[in-house]
Point group: C3
Chain length 462, copies 3
């Protein structure tokens, strides 16, 4: 009987393993549905700026600078890319799935080797001086680039770039719109490097030899060889080489000046067709796609915002455009009204709507307060229609934005002179807000500043 008992115990063990095994399964499957977590929404309506630093970045709209992935990094500079937005919040960002944001930094006297992308891009120069050359079978265009320049990079264009400055890094932000696979694109380099193979390695030596009409041995040495293996996609270049390239091209460039082509860069600070606004508390520049051939077909707007210390970018919303905004300098408090609340599926680091599945309608009538402290190097998203405001902190706050679906989008201010609510019929205001005529008339008209205003009321009695 003792043996029987042992056997039975063994059997029970085996059975319990089988059970646990099956149960483990259940758990795994259930985790596909986001678990109910404690609310991530932010309370404390008073919005005091103390003590909200940590918890406040817990929103899918805010990508801290650590969110970037290093795509390339060397002593000569780096390329960083934000993951697909839908990886963060699959449903919330479905509409901008096909847009990718990346950041480039090139050290002084460096050269980005020729490449093309299977994507359209729009670039804004954040800092420094450089040149970029676009090459086609028939044309070769060299552009001089400086802060505030916006460059449209058409899909498939072969191009290279150079930081021509001796001391300052060349930095730029880029939004990329893939043409093959939604949200996915690649860089195709003609020359090999340690970091990235030449696309010619996709071909056999004998075909390349015949195609280039050069010996196979040379094909091997140049395209597959180890010559460039110590080199990255960013390379040192001598001032003489820079001079040689830019002089060659400048002469050509000058000839072309009159017939400035469709894809010539334009500058956000100086071009007449840019909408600009300036007052004591900040300045704002916006290039709308309908005003520039370069960005019209992509429906991308580009903005540059500069706020002095302690000012507020007045509450507003964009009627159609969703903005991907990069913080170039300083820190700010960003407040936004969202109809959605979120919970995070922990393991996958994804955000889902709090109520029901993807298809579920939120009919609660609630407005959710999104408050976040955004700092240099961060990215935040402002979806269309969502009222938002930005309050600058201890120093100048500078941000650049790419507006997606920006064609015919209207920036609609909710406060300040010329705000949309001040234009409502007084009767409508009275009935809507339940106030007397006097209050109604003053409610939306007491702020004399537009766009930017001081954060303290005492300053504003101008």
């Amino acid at each position: 009987m003792a043996m029987t008992k042992k056997l039975i115990i063994t059997l029970l063990l085996l059975i319990s393993i089988a059970f646990v095994h099956c149960l483990a399964f259940h758990v795994e499957l259930e985790e596909f549905k986001p678990p109910q977590q404690e609310e991530q929404d932010v309370h404390g309506g008073g919005g005091s700026s103390k003590g909200w630093q940590e918890e406040l970045s817990e929103f899918p709209y805010h990508f801290k600078k650590q969110s970037f992935k290093n795509w390339f990094q060397s002593k000569e500079g780096f390329v960083k890319m934000l993951p697909k937005f839908t990886k963060r919040a699959p449903n919330l960002f479905r509409g901008i799935e096909n847009y990718r944001f990346s950041l480039y930094e090139m050290e002084p006297n460096t050269f980005l080797v020729p490449l093309h992308l299977d994507a359209d891009s729009v670039v804004i120069i954040l800092q420094g001086q450089g040149v970029a050359e676009f090459v086609t079978a028939k044309t070769k265009e060299l552009f001089h680039l400086t802060k505030g320049d916006v460059v449209r990079l058409p899909s498939g264009i072969t191009h290279f770039a150079i930081n021509t400055n001796q001391t300052v890094p060349l930095r730029f932000a880029k939004i990329t719109i893939p043409v093959n696979i939604p949200g996915q694109f690649q860089n195709y380099f003609s020359a090999p490097s340690q970091f990235q193979q030449s696309y010619f390695t996709g071909f056999s030596k004998e075909v390349l030899s015949a195609s280039f009409n050069i010996p196979e041995e040379l094909v091997g040495r140049i395209f597959f060889g180890s010559q460039q293996m110590g080199q990255g996609i960013l390379r040192r270049i001598t001032p003489e080489q820079i001079k040689e390239i830019t002089e060659n091209s400048t002469s050509r460039s000058n000839k072309d000046k009159d017939k400035s082509t469709k894809f010539s860069p334009f500058n956000l600070f100086t071009h007449d067709s840019v909408s600009s606004y300036t007052n004591d508390f900040g300045h704002f520049h916006e290039a709308q796609p309908d005003s520039f051939d370069q960005i019209q077909d992509l429906q991308i707007a580009v903005t540059w915002t500069n706020m002095t210390q302690g000012s507020v970018f007045l509450p507003q919303y964009n009627s159609k455009a969703t903005f991907v905004t990069f913080v170039e300098n300083g820190c700010a408090r960003y407040e936004m009204a969202s109809p959605y609340s979120f919970q995070r599926e922990q393991q996958q680091q994804q955000w889902w709507p709090e109520q029901g599945g993807e298809e579920e309608e939120d009919m609660s009538g609630q407005v959710h307060k999104i408050v976040s402290r955004v700092c240099k190097g961060d990215v935040f998203i402002i979806p269309a229609g969502h009222p938002f405001t930005i309050v600058s902190h201890d120093e100048n706050f500078v941000s650049v934005g790419f507006g997606i679906y920006a064609s015919n989008s209207i920036r609609t201010f909710l406060a300040g002179q010329g705000n949309v609510l001040s234009n409502l019929d007084t009767v409508a205001t009275r009935v809507a807000f339940g106030v007397r005529s006097k209050v109604a008339e003053k409610l939306f008209t007491s702020q004399n500043y537009s766009y930017f205003a001081p954060t303290t009321r005492s300053h504003q009695q101008t």
Copy 2:
């Protein structure tokens, strides 16, 4: 041995539980694939109208009026919305996922408080009289609305509406095209109500105080306060208030008359660019997107159909447009030829193609007969290319339709004068239908009416 037996029985029980557990699993997983159910297709080719009332609405194309969700309801009126089409039939309606249908009713002397949507919309007035005002920073346009008016509501426009009539409810149908998330949008209200928070609750008091340059206390009272808490988004408004608003704006409106703007409403019954057809058995009005700036970019067509008792809207198909059709009055029999047959996944209330998965091709060569009795308040879908007909019953049948992807779509009649098949070469008809010349010539030319015809042959010898 008895103990051994008991143990063994216990073990067997445990094992069977384990088994059932695993099997249960199998079942669960299998339910992801739609189970084989009895055919939902409709039999009885003769199509007698007796006894088909109940079972015939079992098609994904037909949304009974109970399908609407109440988004808002009060004594002052209601807003009802149809669920996402893809919630009903994920694959079948993928192409119209980003379109939502809703229905509004405002009681006499009521006011819809100012709001904007993160979506474009097209509205058709079904009944009543009212005004709508569109407000931007620079413009304020008040439109007088009456039955048959089509209003384009651009994404993000701040607007309000009033039922100006003392006795008749103002009713309108709306198709909405979200700009942020496919098939999802929200209403953003500036003023708080019992039903819906003000979007200003997304901001902190201190920021609002600075932005509006008003005391924090007032901010709290107006935007977060309980003043309006007894009020819905639809509110009573006095005839005096209505007069004040409309008189103010009419004067402005008059000045603007010459420069009628891009988004001025137009009327389906009176505008010259609307295609209209009338005979004894019905009348039909269609505004095509290529003829109206208001709806051109959205590629939405709007139709109004009115059939007298006992008439048939002749068999036809739309070459590119898919119509979402709302029944405004009466009942009718709707017949459609569909290449797809369906079965319903019961628990999720979703419809899937009968054969194979989403990706599977139906190569059976079968045509499936979709027959449904549609009544006042129902919605039905007519996909592009699908031949369909509508037969009115005991009273006038009135329906309005929104055509999706309607740019360059051609309404192609298959019967009646000027039908496409009557224009085929006689030889082609003979070879195709296997009939003699005489029959071929008369086959598609014996019906003298166009668009609408009587349902009884005896009536038609005109």
Copy 3:
């Protein structure tokens, strides 16, 4: 005790079955994730053409002719269709999900009965002579078709086609762009056949009788009857019938000649707006969407490539367009540089990216060599931006291509006269490829031919 042992053995067996059962599950579920398989990528950089015939078609880009499904087949001809591209590689081909490729062959003196599609299409005639007629309520256009003709078939147009030649089959390739469900469309026939029901079977007899104003008995006989049941959708037609149809219509056609309509076919070999290139080693014709009203809105380009034996279509990429290419004659070696590597999920015959899931970024810097032997009847895909080359073998190689998203796409050659890299600054070439000035200057300029060159260097010293 013996009995106990037997029982225990039985129990153990049961338990192991339970175990296996659960484990089997694990395996099944795990197979949803692509298993790690041996690399499918192709090695042997030398690319010798010996012995690569079998294994080299193991890429998602290459559809062997067996991949086609017979949609219809009879003595009078066939219609074959390629499965949805996303069925083969769900992520890789997401961008071209809504495009379907099919192949038609009509025997001499056959008639394709009138039909319409819920899709737009572009057709290229590969061989033979025929006519097609497009019918609307008001117009009837008959087009004579011959090899190289490109026909735009608008969504929903009722049409028929005839092989008017007495001896040669009429063959054409078609790309189809569904309007209802992405990647899915149907053919709607007015007349019944053995193979396919008439769409009038979607209606009840009494409604048809009223609509056509003909007796119910006749309705039953013509639309539901068995008269045509022995017939397919392709039917024999006598030369006299052909004459009758074409003569009737030619006269009409002649009147219309001056006002050649938007959808009149054009010929790839003779139309002035087609880009053509010819040398001793091949000729190439490309109709770009921006040059032809017929294909502009669809953004489809159409190409015809003819390479003599032993020539190379020089390395190149398309800046925006993805080409679906059909091999009309001969065999060729197709080489392409892809940033993606693949593994196949065996049971479902689907291809997935090798690294991580759909959302994972490939940042390996590797270029993958796609080499395949493509022969008559095969289809291969060339995505935008991907450098590729084609080397013809033992006979003339002929292929036709449909370019998707081809608006403003630029065909960019990487070798041969006028290649893009020869237009780079010499300094840039030197720095990028790490070569001396002399080599840099000759690297991309030693091939004097454009487009097509001989595969053996000895031939090229022209």
